[in-house]
Each structure stands twice: as C-alpha cells, then as structure tokens.
C-alpha cells in the first residue's frame, strides 16, 4: 500500500510539471511574437506620425508668412482741386499716392527709376486712399495718413524671402528698389499687420490683393447644395434598400452597383456632370449648383453605405418590440429605427461632406476652374471652390502665391480636421450600449 501510494504521489506532480514545462517553453515564444507585433505597430505609427509631421512642417513653414502683410504708411496730400467731393471716384488717387511717394525720394527723376519706385505700391493702393477720403471728406484740402499695401515683391522682401546676395539679374527687385525699401523701413514707414485681405477678398492677379473668401463662399454654396441633395436622397435610399426592398437578384444588383460607385474615380463624375448637367440640361457653367449636383453623385454611395450599416446595427429586438405593440412598418422605422441609426448616418454624411470639400477633379470638368474674382451671391453665380483655388494658385510663379497656396492649404486642412473631429465627437456622444 505504502509503495503504491508513494508512487502515485510521485507520478502526479512530475506529470503536472512536464505539462507546465511544455506550456512555459511555448509561452516564451508566444510572448516574443506578441512583443514583435507590438513593436511593428509602434514603428508604423511613428513612421506615419513622422510623415504627418513633415507634411505639417512643410506646409506651415511655407505658409505661415502669408498671414502677415506689410504696408506703407504714407502721408498723402489731398489738394482740394484734385478731388471732387460729389464724385470721389473720379479723382486720380494713384497720382496723389505717387506724388507722396516721390516726395520721400526727391532724387528719383528718370521715368524708369520712377516706375521702379512706384512699383512698390500695390495696385489696390488707390482704393485704400479713396476709402480714406470717403471716410473723412474733411481731409480734402489737407493731407491724410493712409496705409497702403506693398506690392507683393516688396512684401516678400520685407519677409526676407528675397535673397539680397544673389546677382541683380536673378532677382525680381533691383538694388535701387531694395535700397528705397530699406530707407523707408529705417524711416519707420513700413508696418506689418495681420493679412485680413487673405480672408476677405476674392482671387486676384495681384498676389497682395488676393484672398480665399470667394473660394470659401463658393465651397460653402457647393457643399450646401451637396448636403441638401445627398443627405435626404441617401438616407431614403438606405432605408428603402434595407427595410422595404424585396430580397431578390435585382436588389443585389443595385447593392453591388452602389458599392462599386464608391470606388469610381471622381473625375468620371465630372465628365458625367459635364455631359448631363451642362450640355443636356444647360445649367450655368461654374455654378455651385452644378458642382453640388456632381458632388452629390459622388457622395451618395458613401452616405448610402454608411446609412445602411447604421440601420443594420439597430438591434432586431427593438424592431420586434415595436411591431409586437402593433406599430406599422413605417412607424417602426420612423419612430425607432431612424432615430437610433441617425448618429451613424450623420457620421457617414459628415465624412462624405469632408471628402466632397476636398474634391477638385470633378469640379474642374464642369468649369469651376475659371478665374473668378467676384464673391458669388448664390448657388447660380459662377464661382470656384477652395481646392481648385489652391490648384490655381499653385500654378502661379510669384513667390507670394507660393506662401498663399500653403496658407490656403492650411485653411482647407483645418476645415477637414474640424469636420472629421465633429464626426468623431458626434459618434461618441450618441453611441449607445444595448
């Protein structure tokens, strides 16, 4: 008895420790694999963050200066005979400004030199003087101090983007121009201030007078049209397909097509818009209405797919509860399913809108690439959108447009980040636990 039980006692623990040893050996391997996988993940994230950082640093580095604009403070004499108080617009403000500038540098007398000097003034400077006079007509007969924007080349000089060490032939500004500028700077007449023009005016050939406001308004109208069309149609389609459509081959075909449409290159929608909306229906070119229609076609698949997923996620228990009480199918959907699916639908819509905001290719096809100066008043006026504006500016050679392009990209990115953040916040806020 004793030996038998002793043997049993010995057998039991060694059996257990053998299994434990096997498991332990495997454990080390498994933990190593897990740590490797974690390392890969962290490396991938770091690489992605690095690239993101590079992107931001590049863009911000190039663009932050666009938010700052330099201007010249001139004391302009406004002789009474030069300006007619009843018709302020008819006066030769440019001449007055040039006289004031000339007064700073009396030694400039040749026409070439004078032209070089007067190049310092922005083309929009006369309007600034006109506005100042209009604001305070009492200055007629006296002089008024006015701040006029510098021409973009001089603005670049002020920001240090023009390399003074290059030979004169390779620079946009001659030595004399540089000297005049520096003289004015020493006299304290050059001032830097926030570049509100960037946010308040439309496009312009003159960099210092250009702004993104036209594009922003155009984008706004386009997105408004897109939202107004794609959200109701998308949601209604998703509800129909998910709840009402009979499950047959035809419905499957529609589903496949919708899923495929989400992957179609966006320029194709532009071609469609060109052929159908512009040529067949004769809608106005470059209008946000048409842009909105084209973008609607593009975002509908996204919204439909997201909405269907949201509808599918509503648990059948809620549906059955509603039906069991005697709700009709439509009541069940309107009262219970849609409200619960709405956060998902909204998230999908916002993501779709964010995509639409950043689209340029289809809009190029329908003509929103035109040089549009005026701020559009409605969805039917010709306009452009922010991505296209960026595209146009990126084409221009002036140094000033480089920084403005980057600045516009920053604004666009800010909007996109904001919209996506809104989508995430919405989703988190309305997330439900069943």
């Amino acid at each position: 008895m004793d030996t038998r039980s002793a043997k049993a006692a010995r057998a039991a623990p060694s059996g257990r420790s053998q299994i434990a040893e096997t498991v332990n050996a495997g454990l080390r391997r498994r933990y190593r694999a897990e740590r490797r996988f974690r390392a890969y993940g962290i490396i991938a994230i770091l690489v992605a963050l690095g690239m993101l950082a590079t992107l931001f640093v590049t863009i911000i580095g190039k663009g932050y200066t666009a938010f700052w604009q330099h201007s010249l403070e001139l004391n302009v004499a406004v002789p009474a005979d030069a300006v007619n108080p009843q018709d302020l617009g008819s006066a030769n403000y440019l001449g007055l400004l040039r006289d004031a500038l000339q007064a700073q540098f009396p030694e400039v007398d040749t026409r070439q030199e004078r032209r070089a000097l007067f190049a310092m003034l922005s083309d929009g400077a006369p309007y600034a003087l006109q506005d100042a006079v209009a604001e305070d007509p009492s200055v007629i007969g006296r002089s008024v101090t006015v701040q006029v924007a510098l021409d973009d080349d001089f603005d670049m000089l002020a920001k240090g983007h023009i390399d003074a060490n290059l030979p004169e032939a390779q620079r946009r500004l001659s030595d004399a121009q540089v000297a005049w500028y520096q003289a004015l700077a020493e006299r304290g007449m050059i001032e830097g201030h926030f570049n509100t023009t960037l946010f308040t005016s439309g496009d312009s050939r003159q960099a210092e007078m250009s702004g993104i406001w036209g594009a922003v308004v155009g984008s706004f109208f386009t997105l408004a049209v897109t939202l107004a069309l794609s959200f109701p149609i998308g949601v209604a389609t998703a509800v129909y397909l998910e709840e009402f459509a009979p499950k047959n081959r035809f419905t499957d075909l529609i589903e496949v097509n919708i899923n495929n449409l989400a992957a179609v290159p966006s320029i194709v929608f532009g071609l469609l818009g060109l052929a159908v909306f512009l040529q067949f229906f004769g809608l106005p070119r470059s209008a946000p209405l048409v842009g909105g229609l084209v973008l609607t076609l593009m975002t509908l698949p996204t919204i439909i797919i997201a909405s269907r997923a949201a509808l599918k996620s509503v648990p059948p228990s809620i549906r059955e509860a509603a039906l069991g009480l005697g709700a009709s199918k439509l009541q069940m959907i309107l009262h219970h399913v849609l409200p619960l699916a709405m956060p998902g639908m909204l998230t999908g819509t916002i993501i779709g809108m964010a995509q639409a905001l950043g689209e340029s290719a289809p809009l190029l096809m329908i003509g929103m690439v035109a040089f549009v100066v005026d701020i559009p008043n409605g969805p039917l006026d010709p306009s452009t959108v922010l991505p296209v504006q960026i595209f146009l500016w990126a084409d221009s050679p002036e140094r000033a447009f480089v920084e403005r392009t980057s600045a516009a990209i920053m604004v666009l990115l800010a909007f996109l980040v904001f919209m996506n953040a809104a989508a995430v916040w919405l989703r988190k806020k309305f997330e439900r636990r069943w």
Binding site: S317, E320, A321, G324, L325, G326, A327, H335, H336, R432
Partner: protein
C-alpha cells in the same frame, strides 16, 4: 401510456367552455423545412397556458404564429387555421397591426425602447389613438405601470430612460408596455430566462395577477416554472404537439412516454 402520433391529453376544450384561441391543422414551414406539424390546440380564456419542450421543438414558432410575428420572417409559411374569438387571424381582411394590439407580446430579453419610461408605456396607446388627451394618456400609463407592479419603483423617475432599470424592472416595463394597449391576450416568450430568481418570482406573481384580466400564453424552458405558473401545459417535440392537458396532470401523471421522458430528464 401512449406513444403514437396522436396528441395525448385534452388539447381541445369542450363545446361549452370559452376557447380564446383555437388552432386547427396548423402547419408552419420555413422555406422547405417544416417546423410545425398538424397542431390542434385550444387556449382557454383567462388562463395561463404554457408551452414546454426541448430546443427547436417549435414552441416559440407556434407562439409567434399567434400574433403573426412570423410574417416578418422571409420564407415563413403558415397553413391551417388559427382563430381569435372565432375569427381567422390569417384572413386577408385582418389588419395585422390591429391584431397585434389585441394580442401583445413580451420577449425573452427585455427590450425597452431607448426612451423615457413614460414614453415606453405611452408609445402603444399613442400610435393606436387610445388616448384623447394628455390626461387620458397619463392615466393609461399610470394604470399599466401599476398593474405591472412597477409604479411604486418608478413613479419618481418617469422621465429617465427605460434602459437604466434593472433586468427585472425592464421586463416588467415591457409587460406594462404590452398591457397599455389593453390587449386580450399576452404572449410571453421565455420572459424570465434572463432574470435572477427574485425578479423571476415577481414576474410569476405578476402573471398570476394578470390572469384575472388577460389570457396568457407563456413559452418556458423551465418545467418548474411551467408547473408553478400555468393551469394548462402543452408539450411540443420536433414540431409535433405531443400532449396537452391540465398542468397538474402533466406533471404528476403524463400520458405520453415522450412527455414523461422530457419532464423527468430522461431525454437523449
């Protein structure tokens, strides 16, 4: 002891008694597969009838036939006749929405709407237009919650979401919601299977009280519960109705071998 295909016991009531629901020659198909065979059964008014049987025997399927919830399942076909107070509920002219207001349902997992407690109970009366004004509606909600034994626990928090209650309370809320539309029959599909024993006891007590005003049909996996709660019991097996009789008879002296095997744990 019977072991032939015919139903043992007394599934049909005598001529004079009140049968609230009558099923005759009821066959149910899911596509090609037959789920129920030739079910003939009467449910007596103001009584609790329980359906028992192993998983997949068709008891839940049959329960859902009684309020036509199987209509929402694609490919489900019901033949034969099921009548409520003599009217065939599968007749073309019957409005399913109205039928479901007369035959209410409580499900296995409590599923209150993600709305306030008040709204949960008020939804049914509202869509059926049972209340003329707010006062009426308040009254209906109040009475329903009281009958469900929940009023005392929630009367101070009617605005709070129904999903914030405990499991047992949620199920009683679902019962209150079902009785708010003033049905004649209440169907319960394993109402206590997700609840702890205390909540279960409260629901069973509630069922006993509700019996006075409603006809109740309950599907349950627990034979002890069927024994405690029901007056008549029907045993289903592989789509057949094997035995239907008074509960006491079924649980002390069943007449069919299958019934005996199932309730004494001799299956398989």
């Amino acid at each position: 002891m019977a072991d032939t295909q015919t139903t043992a016991g007394t599934p049909l009531v005598a001529q004079g008694d009140a049968a609230k629901i009558e099923a005759r020659d009821c066959n149910v198909f899911y596509g090609e597969k037959q789920a129920l065979r030739n079910i003939a059964l009467d449910i007596k008014a103001n009584e609790v009838t329980s359906f028992i049987g192993p998983s997949g025997c068709g008891k839940s399927t049959f329960l859902r036939c009684l309020n036509r919830m199987n209509d929402i399942i694609d490919g489900c076909r019901v033949s034969g006749s099921i009548t409520l107070d003599g009217e065939d509920i599968y007749h073309r002219r019957i409005d399913v929405v109205q039928l479901r207001a007369r035959i209410g349902m409580v499900f296995q997992k409590p599923n209150p709407f993600p709305k306030s407690i008040y709204e949960n109970v008020a939804y049914g009366p509202r869509i059926h237009g049972l209340a003329r004004n707010k006062t009426d509606l308040d009254e209906i909600v109040h009475t329903s919650l009281e009958r469900a034994g929940l009023l005392g626990e929630v009367k101070d928090r009617m605005d709070q979401p129904g999903t914030g209650l405990s499991g047992g309370q949620q199920q009683r809320l679902c019962i209150a919601r079902a009785i708010a539309v003033n049905p004649e029959v209440i169907l319960m599909d394993e109402p206590c299977s997700a609840l702890d024993p205390i909540a279960t006891a409260k629901i069973e007590e509630l069922i006993d009280e509700l019996r006075e005003n409603y006809t109740i049909v309950i599907v349950t996996h627990s034979m002890q519960q069927a024994a405690r709660v029901s007056q008549r019991t029907a045993f289903f097996h592989l789509g057949n109705l094997v035995e239907c009789n008074d509960t006491e008879q079924i649980f002390t002296n069943p007449q069919h071998k299958l019934t005996q095997g199932y309730i004494t744990g001799r299956f398989g």
